[in-house]
């Protein structure tokens, strides 16, 4: 299974709508880095509104993808994290401290625009 990555101006948008198995998560990591490379995108929004569970593996993949994208010159914002998911991440002891977040896709895009242009 592959997660689609959309390009909108200089941004990449991803809405995760599948139940993520490990392969899908790793494939997504690779696809996103390739897409950043090919498009020269400066900002990425990953929307997690439909994601109802993030375990330590998926959290690690997401954290890694944010750091790797930064190395390639793209800022990543995670959006739409459900309350139940935020609570379980804290139970797991995962803070996502260095990760930029926003309430929804629209605010995520606003945040990127501010960070990149402001």
């Amino acid at each position: 299974m592959r997660i689609p990555i959309l390009k909108l101006h200089e941004y990449l948008l991803i809405t995760i709508q599948v139940e993520m198995d490990d392969q899908t998560a790793l494939q997504f990591q690779e696809d996103l880095l390739n897409k950043i490379h090919d498009t020269g995108a400066k900002g990425v929004v990953i929307d997690l509104t439909s994601v109802d569970m993030i375990d330590s593996f998926i959290a690690k993949v997401l954290g890694d993808v944010v750091r790797m994208s930064k190395l390639m010159g793209a800022q990543v914002v995670l959006t739409g994290i459900q309350p139940a998911v935020a609570i379980t991440l804290i139970d797991l002891g995962i803070s996502m401290r260095e990760v930029s977040t926003a309430l929804d896709l629209e605010q995520g895009l606003d945040k990127l625009r501010l960070e990149l242009e402001g």
Partner: protein, 133 residues
């Protein structure tokens, strides 16, 4: 649905099946959104550990009713290498695989009761319970 259901864990997709089974049972038992997420996450951690460290094993999920106190129990069983230093693996950040080391201490916090029995070269059995509030 007062019987135990089990999922064999042999590959990454079985991890997804195990957590889907857990979510469905948690929903049916009347757990709220947040506890459903906690139970599903705990199952995912235990199933992944089986897959990563033991190669294969199983996850069983059972409803419990003790003197009117209702809940759900997860049992993770494998005949893998076992865990030599149980105290160490329960520390946040301890990993032998480059993971976050969040799994086992995380499961303990996600659930209400947690127990682990492991014998080197024999296997590991972990049991974790969440009570319905």
């Amino acid at each position: 649905m007062d019987i135990q259901s089990c999922v064999e864990v042999r590959n990454e997709w079985d991890i997804v099946s195990a957590r889907q089974l857990g979510r469905n049972m948690a929903k049916e038992l009347g757990f709220g959104n947040v506890d459903q997420a906690r139970i599903t996450t705990a199952i995912s951690e235990l199933a992944r550990n089986i897959y990563l460290y033991a190669g294969r094993g199983k996850i069983c999920i059972e409803p419990i009713d003790q003197l009117g106190k209702k809940g759900l129990r997860i049992i993770a069983l494998d005949n893998g290498p076992g865990i030599r230093e149980i105290r160490k693996v329960m520390e946040d950040g301890y990993t032998t695989s480059g993971g976050l080391g969040a799994g086992l201490p995380g499961v303990k916090r996600l659930m209400d009761e947690f127990s682990i029995e492991s014998t080197v070269d024999v296997g590991t059995e972990i049991s974790a319970t969440k009570w319905l509030r």
